[in-house]
Structure formats: C-alpha cells, structure tokens
C-alpha cells in the first residue's frame, strides 16, 4: 500500500505543472479560449478611452456645468450629477484612474508575490517554512476589512490606496509562484542548471521566474479586476481619494441622487463592469492558454 500518494491536494487554481510555452501555441490557446480575445478587445476599447479622454470628454470631470442632475440627453449623454458635473466626462476620465489603480496595485502584488513565492519555493527548508507560513496567514486574513481599516485610519490618497491594495493581495501570487517554483525546482532543466554549477540567483531569474510567472500573470490580470472592485468598494464607503474622479467615487457621490438620478450611479457602475470584465476575460484567456490539459478538453 502506498501511504504517501494521498498527500496531493487538489485545489482549484493550483498549477499541476509549470508550463512550457511557445508564443504561437500560447496565442492559439488564447484565441481558442474565446474569452481572451473578447477581453482584449474590451480592454483595448477601455484603454483607448483612457488615452483619448481629453478628446472624448466634453469637459473636465471636475468642472461644473449649469445643469444640476440633468438626465441623459443631448449635451450630457450620461446626464449630470447633483453638482452639475458631466457624468460622461467623469466616466471617461475615470477610466484612467481605474486602469492606473488596477494596474499599479496588481503590479505591486505581482512583484512582491513573485519574489517571495519564487524564493520560498526554490529555497525550500526553513526559508520556505517561514515564508509560506507568512503567505498562509495573509491568505487567511480577510483582505477587504484589512484594507478598510488601514485606509480609514491612515488616509485615502490614490497612491496610498494602490499601495495598500497591492500589499494585501500579493499572497495569492506568492502562493502560485511558490507552487510553480516547487515544481520547477524538481524539473530536469533546473536540476541540470544546478548540476552545471549555476548560481541560485541566476537560476531564479533565468529559469524559475520566467517559467513560473505565467499563472502569476494570469492571476495578476484577475487581481487588476479585483483591485478596481476593491477601490470601488472603498469609494462607496466614502474612502476614495477626493482629488481624483474614480468610478467608485462617482457611484458614492451619485448615490445621494438615488433613486431619482439613477444615471449618476448606473453609468459609472457599468463602466466598472465592463472594465473588470475585460480583465476577467483576459485572465481566463491566459489561464486557458496556459493550461494545455484544460485546452484539449475544451474548457
């Protein structure tokens, strides 16, 4: 009887095995996923809006127009809020903030998570013991409440919010990267590099991280979406940065006009849905392309 075979734990999201990728196969898998290209198209549209914000938006999002709480119509396609600010302009400019916030938060998470996870998984031993304890503990802490407490207590400027979000969501990436590093460490080409006398830092940089990064990339894409939602949640509680126009903040401010001024919350909300969905779709496309087994089975 084998006593140890049952030790494997199947958990969704755990990579079975690090993946070798050829760009072409990868792209084919990505396209096959259906969700991937749609997400990319959506994101492209969103990014275009962000880039062209000054052109698209009729006015500065902070600027007051004469129409207070005007319903959608000519001049104000999405209407105006109770201060007379143009919702359409806000949505357009908010794209920049949401993208910035999402990308920066997720990037922080990706960098921290990748480094911690790769070191933990590759080094093993007590280093892994300590780091993975840390990862586990942070994974178990309810993040939103933590972010909430920190932001509420310490302040809510955008850079701060981005950093706090980034620094609370990295453990998921670290866990992925650690699992990757653990499996990559046993991979023949890594063993071969060790046997050839390669230095550990170089092995991490050249073999472990480049190979193991894909699930982290996919997850980071999802985290962009998560960060945007988190910011929206914070803003909804009045904890957004008052100096920038973000969608969450627009909903929060527009909420006072409900139910009569439904457009003040409807459109920013839809913008969040579209953007978040773009990242989810891309993330799923990446996962699909990265997971050959699932791909073969049409998942």
């Amino acid at each position: 009887m084998r006593a140890d075979t049952g030790r494997h734990r199947r958990r969704p999201g755990d990579p079975g095995r690090a993946t070798d990728l050829e760009l072409r196969t990868f792209w084919r898998g990505y396209v096959e996923s259906r969700s991937g290209p749609i997400g990319l198209a959506l994101l492209a549209a969103v990014a275009l809006v962000a880039a062209l914000a000054p052109v698209l938006a009729p006015v500065r999002p902070e600027a007051f127009t004469d129409a207070l709480l005007a319903p959608p119509g000519p001049g104000h396609p999405f209407g105006t809020d109770h201060l007379g600010r143009d919702i359409f302009s806000g949505v357009v400019y908010g794209t920049r903030i949401s993208l910035l916030l999402g990308v920066v938060s997720a990037a922080i998470s990706a960098v921290v998570g990748t480094v911690v996870g790769a070191v933990a998984g590759y080094a093993g031993g007590w280093i892994d013991e300590i780091l993975s304890r840390l990862i586990d503990v942070f994974l178990m802490i309810p993040v939103f409440f933590l972010v909430l407490v920190v932001i509420m207590l310490f302040g809510n400027s955008l850079p701060y919010v981005m950093t706090v979000i980034g620094l609370t969501i990295w453990p998921a990436n670290a866990r992925l990267m650690r699992a990757q590093a653990l499996s990559l460490r046993e991979r023949t080409f890594v063993r071969a590099a060790v046997a050839l006398g390669e230095a550990h830092g170089r092995i991490l940089a050249r073999h472990i991280i480049p190979h193991g990064i894909y699930p982290v990339v996919a997850n980071t894409t999802l985290q962009v979406a998560g960060a945007i939602l988190t910011e929206a949640g914070l803003s909804f509680l009045g904890l957004g940065d008052p100096n920038v126009v973000s969608w969450g903040r627009m909903i929060y401010e527009g909420r006072v006009s409900m139910p009569h001024g439904w457009w003040t919350t409807l459109f920013p909300g839809l913008a969040i849905v579209v953007t978040v969905m773009a990242f989810y779709l891309i993330g799923d496309g990446l996962n699909h392309a990265l997971n050959p087994q699932a791909r073969e089975r049409g998942a």
Partner: protein, 324 residues
C-alpha cells in the same frame, strides 16, 4: 486516526498563528493610526485634561503600549473581547447581537449561490462551447464583474423604488412586528434583495469552478474506462462525474467566506441590514479599539475556521486526502 489528529493539531496551530498575527496587526494598526478614541469621545476640546484623563484612565489607554497589549492578550485568553468604548457594553455582546443577521444573510446567499452555481456549472460543463454554455458564461462574467453594492443599488432601484415589490431596508417591518411564522416570512421578504444581491455576485465563482471541474473530470481516464464498459453517459455522470466534480466547489465554499463577509458588509450598508458589517464600519469610525479588534478577530477566526472546516469536509469527501 493519529495522522488525522496530528493534522488537526497542526491546522489548529496554523489557525492560532493566523489569529495571533491578526491580533498583533490589529493592535499595531489601530494604535498607530492618527486620532484616538478619547478625543472623539471628548470631542475636540483640547484643553480639558480632566475629562481626557478620566476617559484615558477608564479605558486603560494611559498604560504603555506593551502593557496594554499584554492586558488585551490576557483577557483574550480568558475569552474576554473587552468592552466597547462607544457602546459601553461587552464587545462579545455587541457581536453576538449582530452576528445572527449577518449569518442569516451570508449563509442564505452562499447556499443560494452554491446551488445555483453548481447547477448552472454542470449544465455548462456537460456541453462546453455550446451556445448555452457561452450564454451562461457571459452571465457569470457579468455578475462576477459587478460590485456587490452597485448591484444592490440597482436591485433596490428596480424592485423597491420602481416596482415597489420589495422593501428597501431593514430585516423586518418594525411598524408592526410579527411573531412566529409571520415574522419569519417578513424577514424572508426583507431578505430577498440583499441575499439575492450577495448570491448573484458569488454565484459565478461556484459556476466557474463547477464548470471547469466537470469538463476536466469528463476527460479523466476513468470516464473512458466506464464508457468502454458500456455504462450510459447519464449513469457515469450521476454516479461518478458529479461526485468528483463537486469537490472543488465544496472547497470554494469555505474559501469564499472572507470575500462573502466583505461583500456582506457593503450590502448590509446598502440595505441597512443589522449585521456585523455595519458594526465594523461604525467601530472603525469611532476608533472603538476593543470593538474593531474584537470584530476583526472574530471575522478572521470565522474565515480561518471556515477554511479548516472546508478542509475537513473535503478530506471526508475525498478519500485521497490523508492528513499526513
């Protein structure tokens, strides 16, 4: 048996470690934050040393931090979460009063989400890449991308404001409180919108996991064996695939808890649901240290225990898992 116990012991150790980190983190964060509760209680009256002092002494805030921390830990070990500064009541009592509605909301929503997600996930997973699958997937993406509070607001707009079918807030009608069955029907009526909101934003998680695992299990070798043995696809699915495919969804059930509680807090705000979410925001706002720490501890413990229970249930469902 021993290995299971050993596993349990280790998991509990990890749980305690998590809670220890939570306690320290909490303590440090809350104390490091600008502003202190006495000032809020006393108002902005800078030169009133007598009152500030009296309050400070009353809540032990004059002690060195280390002493305060030790006192906190000691009382925690005795099962005492402390006394709320703002409410002048034991924290445990405040939590106990709000935990019920929160549990009612989150459990209802989660079970709904689970049932719905698994059912739809199965539908999709058995016909991957079909039109129905595409439609369901799209719906899942859409819901997944929705901020729960926004969905709640839109739900309230449509069903409470425009259609007037459902109440906007609260847990029951305070004007004419009911008893017995009528009371629970009333609660259920109030529960519809918040629970549906929370269920809908969670559903995609279960949907996606179920769909993926159904697709995966359908491709497993043992399915080929059973097909080769001449079993009907329906039989294979019901007797074999489903059990295999449900396991990951069950795992998600526990892992979701943190997310659900966060979503619940926001939804509670939208619908004035008398739960812990609102209590939390209140406590943070008032710098009610004992209350903030107590809630956070309880929430963290709940999440950790949820994960532990999930693991155990998973181990019970999946014979492969031996806690060695």
């Amino acid at each position: 048996m021993w290995t299971t116990l050993g596993y349990l012991a280790r998991r509990c150790g990890a749980l305690l470690l998590t809670l220890a980190v939570v306690v320290v983190l909490n303590f440090v964060l809350v104390r490091a934050a600008p502003g202190d509760p006495v000032r809020i209680l006393a108002g902005m009256d800078q030169p009133s040393p007598e009152m500030v002092e009296a309050l400070t002494r009353r809540y032990g805030l004059d002690q060195p931090l280390a002493v305060q921390f030790w006192a906190y830990v000691r009382s925690l070990l005795q099962g005492d979460l402390g006394r709320s500064i703002t409410f002048e009541r034991p924290v445990s009592q405040l939590i106990a009063q709000t935990v019920g509605p929160t549990l009612l909301l989150t459990l209802t929503a989660t079970l709904l989400a689970f049932a719905l997600g698994v059912a739809l996930g199965t539908v999709s997973g058995t016909r991957p890449r079909s039109r129905l699958d595409a439609l369901l997937s799209l719906a899942a993406y859409l819901l997944y991308a929705m901020p729960p509070f926004w969905l709640g607001m839109m739900g309230m707009l449509v069903f409470a404001s425009w259609l007037g079918w459902l109440p906007t807030s609260g847990m029951y009608d305070v004007r004419s409180p009911q008893t017995g069955l009528a009371h629970w029907l009333d609660v259920a009526h109030h529960l519809v919108l918040p629970a549906a909101t929370l269920a809908l934003v969670q559903m995609p998680v279960f949907y996606r996991v179920t769909r993926a695992s159904v697709v995966q299990v359908l491709g497993d070798d043992f399915v080929t064996t059973l097909r080769a043995a001449g079993l009907r696809p329906g039989t294979i699915f019901r007797r074999y695939v489903l059990k295999n495919a449900l396991l990951p969804s069950v795992t998600m059930l526990g892992l979701q808890l943190g997310y659900v509680l966060a979503g619940a807090a926001l939804v509670e705000v939208v619908f004035s649901w008398p739960g812990m979410g609102r209590l939390t925001l209140n406590a943070i706002y008032r710098r009610d240290f004992p209350l903030v720490m107590g809630i956070y501890l309880v929430v963290s413990a709940a999440v950790a225990v949820g994960a532990l229970i999930t693991d155990l249930v998973y181990g019970w469902l999946d014979p492969r898992i031996r806690y060695g």
